[in-house]
């Protein structure tokens, strides 16, 4: 059975370095709802690959700079 993984993210940090971009601004630019951005930041939702790429594009970074993963024991 494959091990479970937890997707982590650096969105809060990236927003801070993007002139303290608000969650609403990020939501608008990434084409998601503000609630979804809040859920992703809080680790309560793992976005689709498409949305993950759109979020990375908003910050102008590679996807692995936004999202990472941890293997759960």
């Amino acid at each position: 059975m494959p091990k479970k993984i937890e997707v982590t993210n650096n969105i809060r940090k990236l927003r801070f370095f993007a002139n303290e971009m608000t969650q609403q601004e990020l939501a608008e630019k990434a084409g998601a709802s503000r609630q979804t951005i809040i859920a992703i930041e809080a680790g309560k939702y793992s976005p689709s690959l498409e949305l993950a790429f759109r979020i990375a594009d908003v910050f102008g970074v590679q996807i692995n700079e936004v999202f990472d993963h941890k293997i759960l024991e």
């Binding site: 939501a27 709802s33 979804t36 859920a39 309560k44 939702y45 793992s46 689709s48 498409e50 949305l51």
Partner: protein, 168 residues
Amino acid sequence: MSYQEKRTITTIVTGLLVLAAYCLYAFNPVRLSALTPGDLKPWSVTMLIFIGIGVGASIIIQIVFHILMSISIAIKEKMRNMECEDKEIEKTIGVEMIEDERDKLIELKASKVGFGIAGGGFLLALVAIVLKYSPVVMLNILFLTMSLGSIIEGFVQLVFYRRGVWHA
């Protein structure tokens, strides 16, 4: 609480009200005593009427809710920034009310639960027939489990909105 959560709550409340109205009307002792045992027609008519009422009420309540939410968001935006333009308010309303992939995933996962309950109701209805209960009982089990399934689906959606949702 997000727009989607509030919308889900209004759907649950609508479903509960319609279900309560059906139970009060259909199981009224005066009405029951006037019915011929085993006659399915009055039950079918009642259920069709209540399905119609449920669909109609749900559409009207959702429209009213959408209008009220838009007004409330517009007022909040105006209070936050008196000089904001209508376009900005429209954009905020759009961002608050947008339905994205997370909402669709939550709907999908919750609908599995709703269909599961309706499916369980179908099995229960078949068991009722096997145990020689009246077809009226079977019809009511089908109707009530479908209604309950849709209400519980709403509660499951709320749980997913609160606790989070993941693929697979």
